[in-house]
């Protein structure tokens, strides 16, 4: 007679929260800011600080990337989070888009 003694390894609980797991699995969008000839450089730096909570040095670094290279990859996030950031950047009239990460 075969006696089922049960699995050797019992199911456990993933220590990551549901939200963290969702974010981890769905972090597939890139938020990009594009250069334009109208927004002031100090203004772009200010907006990056407001929207992302960055310090001035990091915000200036991304502003200079936009200015010199034509665009800057600002962050990678889930679809909802990326939408939120792009929406905020649009409210400040920056030219920002999101696209699926390859």
């Amino acid at each position: 007679m075969f006696v089922n003694a049960g699995p050797m390894v019992l199911p456990g609980i993933d220590p990551r929260s549901d939200q963290q797991t969702k974010e981890f699995l769905d972090s597939g969008y890139l938020v990009i800011c594009w250069d334009d000839p109208i927004n002031l450089m100090d203004y772009v730096t200010h907006v990056f600080q407001k929207v992302f909570g960055w310090n001035r040095a990091k915000a200036e670094h991304h502003m200079m990337e936009v200015h010199q290279q034509g665009k800057s990859l600002l962050t990678r996030a889930s679809m909802e989070t990326a939408e939120h950031y792009v929406h905020q950047l649009h409210r400040y009239n920056l030219h920002a888009t999101m696209e699926k990460a390859e």
Binding site: Y43, E83, V86, H87, Y92, T97, M98, E99
Partner: protein, 154 residues
């Protein structure tokens, strides 16, 4: 224009009558940028997964602009001259300055769009029609006020 720093990111801006009339005329033009000007994705490569979100974004842009427009009317009505009738003192904290900077930028970008998105060199070298002068004025003066407010926040 005089600026008086008060600490904690707060400051006063003192304007004479002409400067206040110019700022009032400027912010009264809000909104200048069309609410549907922006898209979530590059316009030549729209992402079908984001179409609903893009539609919602454009709709919420109109609501945001309507709210800002009401706030501007209330803000203008709240500002009165000092007793000498020659000076307007406007008090700012960081959030109020950020609010006005965003409004001024809407006007600046909207003016630039209505001028046909000229390159920086065209702004000084092109021969503008007389009817474009008020738009050029609004674009430049909003940029000047933006710069002043941004420096106060640094």
């Amino acid at each position: 224009m005089k600026l008086i720093r008060k600490g904690d990111g707060r400051f006063d801006m003192a304007l004479d009558v002409e400067e206040w009339q110019a700022l009032k005329k400027l912010v009264s033009q809000y909104p200048k940028t069309p609410a549907d000007h922006h898209s979530l994705t590059c316009k030549d490569e729209p992402d079908p997964d984001l179409k609903d979100s893009d539609d919602w974004l454009k709709e919420s842009g109109s609501v945001h602009q309507a709210q800002r427009h009401r706030q501007i009317r209330a803000w203008i009505d709240s500002i009165h001259p000092d007793q000498d009738e020659a000076t307007y003192k406007i008090e700012f904290d960081p959030s109020k300055a950020d609010w006005l900077i965003e409004i001024l930028n809407d006007i600046r970008v909207g003016c630039w769009l209505s001028l046909g998105c000229p390159a920086p060199e065209d702004l000084t070298e092109a021969e503008w029609r007389e009817e474009d002068w008020p738009t050029l004025w609004a674009m430049e003066i909003s940029g000047m006020y933006q710069s002043v407010l941004l420096k106060c926040l640094m």
